[in-house]
Assembly symmetry: C2
Homo-oligomer: 332 residues x 2
C-alpha cells in the first residue's frame, strides 16, 4: 500500500446544470414534486426546457460538485465521469479542471450527431429556495468499466461513489470495479445515496453492496436511512445501518447532521445562513466538507462542522458549486 497522491477521486454523473427560477404554480402545473429529482428522456427534457425561464448553465453533477468543493478546500481531487464530445461536455471539463480537479475521462464521440449528448439537469428553483431537478443523463450513463482510470483510483485515499449513477448497469459495473481496485489498494470507499433511492428499483442494489461490505463510509439523509432499512423508527434504522458500514453520516437538513463510527456518535446543528437562495448542492458540499476534514485527519465532530460550513456557503447563492473562498470559511 503506497501513500496516496490524491485525497479523493469521485465517480459520478458528468452533467451541466441548467438553472432557472420559477414560481410554485409552474411546479404544480406540470405535476412535478418540489424538492425531488427525476430522470427525463430527451423529448421530455426538450419540452420542459422550452417551457422554463431563462437559465444559467454551470458544471454540475452531485459527486462532481463535491470534488469542486474538495478542491476549493485545498485538497487533491479527481473525477471520473462520462461527457460527450460537444459544447456542454467542454463546459463540464473546463469547470472541473479550472477548479484544479483532475478530470481525464475521454469524451464519448457523438459520431454523426446521433450519439447521446452530454447530460444536463434542468433545475427549477422556487422562491422558497427549494430545487426541483429534472435530469437527462445522456452520455453520463454510458460510463463503462473501461473508462475507470485504475491508477487514479489507486492513487487516492478515498474513492467516492455517487448514488445517482448507481442505476444503469454499465456505470454500476464501473463503480463496482473502482471499489474493488480501491479496496485492493487499501483505500476507503465512500458512497452517497444522493436521493437516488427515489428512483424505482434502486433500493435493493444499494442494500446489496452495503451488505457485501463494499462501502466503508455512507452518506444518507433521514428519509434514505428509513427507506433503506425499511424501519419507521429513525434511531433503530440508524443503529441497524451503522452496524454495516465503518462510518455512517446522516444529514438532517435544517436540523443539522450526525455521524456514527466505532460506537462513537457526534451530532451538530446546521450552520447559520443569512439568506437561503438555492438549496441545490447542499448535500454535495456537505460531503465535500466532511471528506476533506476526514482526509486531514480530523475527528467526527470537526468533519461534521466542516461539512455544515461548506453546505451553508453553497445554499447562499444560485448554483451547486462554491463561490466564496471555502478554504478561509472552513479552515481545515
Amino acid at each position: 500500500m503506497t501513500s496516496p497522491k490524491l485525497d479523493i477521486v469521485a465517480i459520478g454523473d458528468a452533467i451541466v446544470d441548467v438553472i432557472a427560477t420559477c414560481d410554485d404554480e409552474f411546479i404544480a402545473g406540470r405535476g412535478l414534486q418540489k424538492g425531488s429529482m427525476r430522470l427525463l428522456d430527451p423529448d421530455e427534457a426538450e419540452e420542459l426546457y422550452e417551457a422554463m425561464g431563462p437559465a444559467r448553465e454551470i458544471g454540475g453533477g452531485s459527486a462532481a460538485n463535491s470534488m469542486a468543493g474538495v478542491a476549493a478546500l485545498g485538497l487533491g481531487a479527481g473525477f471520473i465521469g462520462q461527457v460527450a464530445d460537444d459544447q456542454l461536455g467542454a463546459i463540464f471539463a473546463h469547470d472541473m479542471r479550472s477548479l484544479g480537479v483532475r478530470f481525464d475521462t475521454p469524451p464519448l464521440p457523438r459520431g454523426d450527431g446521433s450519439g447521446p449528448p452530454t447530460g444536463r439537469c434542468l433545475i427549477l428553483v422556487t422562491p422558497d429556495a427549494q430545487r426541483t431537478m429534472n435530469t437527462c443523463p445522456g452520455a453520463s450513463h454510458e460510463l463503462s468499466p473501461q473508462a475507470i482510470d485504475e491508477e487514479l483510483v489507486r492513487s487516492a485515499a478515498v474513492t467516492f461513489l455517487e448514488g445517482y449513477l448507481w442505476g444503469p448497469e454499465r456505470p454500476r459495473s464501473a463503480m463496482l470495479r473502482a471499489a474493488e481496485i480501491a479496496h485492493q489498494a487499501g483505500r476507503t470507499v465512500a458512497f452517497t445515496l444522493s436521493e437516488s433511492l427515489c428512483i424505482p428499483g434502486r433500493r435493493e442494489g444499494v442494500q446489496a453492496i452495503i451488505d457485501a461490505g463494499a462501502i466503508d463510509l455512507l452518506f444518507a439523509n433521514e428519509e434514505e436511512v428509513r427507506h433503506l432499512t425499511g424501519s419507521g423508527d429513525l434511531e433503530r434504522a440508524i443503529g441497524e445501518l451503522s452496524a454495516k458500514v465503518t462510518t455512517l453520516v446522516v444529514t438532517r437538513g435544517a436540523a443539522g447532521s450526525m455521524a456514527l463510527e466505532d460506537g462513537q456518535r457526534a451530532e451538530i446543528p446546521a450552520a447559520p445562513v443569512d439568506q437561503v437562495v438555492d438549496t441545490t448542492g447542499a448535500g454535495d458540499l456537505f460531503a465535500a466538507g466532511f471528506l476533506a476534514a476526514r482526509c486531514r485527519g480530523h475527528a467526527l465532530q470537526r468533519c461534521l462542522e466542516s461539512g455544515a460550513l461548506a453546505a451553508a456557503e453553497v445554499i447562499s447563492h444560485f448554483g451547486a458549486r462554491p463561490e466564496a473562498d471555502l478554504k478561509t470559511l472552513v479552515r481545515l
Copy 2:
C-alpha cells in the same frame, strides 16, 4: 405606415456569455486592458478559456441583453442575430424566447463541424466589479442581409442596431438593409456604439452612416462622443453630434446620463446601487430602459430615469440580463 406590432426589434451579436471571476493579476499578467472589449480568434479564445476559472454560461450579446430588458419591462421585443446549429446556439435561443423575445433567425448549419460555432464572450469580472470582455464572434459575424426578416423590422416601432456588429461587411450590409426597411416603413432607427469604437477602423464607417442620416437615436458614452467627433471638449463634441441625430443619449457611468433632442436637454444622476457586483450589461440595460420608456411615450427625463433604474438592477448581480422584476422596479 401601419401601426407597429412590436415595440423594438434589435439586430446584434448572438452570443453566449461565459462569466468567471478573476483577480487583477490575471488581467495584468495576460496584458488585458481592464474594462475593455476585444475580439479573439478561436485559438486565442481556447487558450484564454483554459486559463480562466470556472464559469457560468448565460445568453448574452449587447443588443440581445437590451431586448431581454425591454421584454422584462413588458414591451414587445424581437431580435435578429446569427447563431450556429449547436448547443450554445440552443442556449442563446432558449434564453431569448423564454423571456418572450421573438427570435426566429434560422441557425447556421455547422456541416461537418468545420463551420463557425455560436459566438461566445469570455467575461472576466475583477473584485472591483469591472468586466473585461473577450469576444469570439463565431457564427454571429455571419449574419447576412438575407437573414433580415423584413416583415419583423417593418412591424416594430424602433429598429435598434448594435455597434459591435457594425464591423464585418456582411452583418453591416444586413444592418443597413434593416435601417432602410425601417425608414421606408416610417419607423425609428436607433444605434448604440457599445464601445465598438475601440475596434480599429470602426470610427469612419459609423461617422458615415450618422452623416448620411441613417440614425435617428444614438446611444454613446462620453469617450465615444469625443472619439467620434475628434473633439477633446465634451460640450462641443455633444453639440456637434446632436446636430446630426434627432436624439442623442450620452451615458457617463457613475456620473449619470444626459439626452438632447430638438434643442431640449435632460440630465440625471446614476441610480443608487447597494453593491456593484458586475458592471456587464450596464449600457445594454440603460438602452433598454430608455427605449422602453420612449416607446411608452415618456419625456426625455423619464426615459433617462428608466434607463438608469434598469442599469442599476443589472450591475447588482453577475450577468448582463435582468434578474429582478424590472416592471415593478421601473413602473412605466
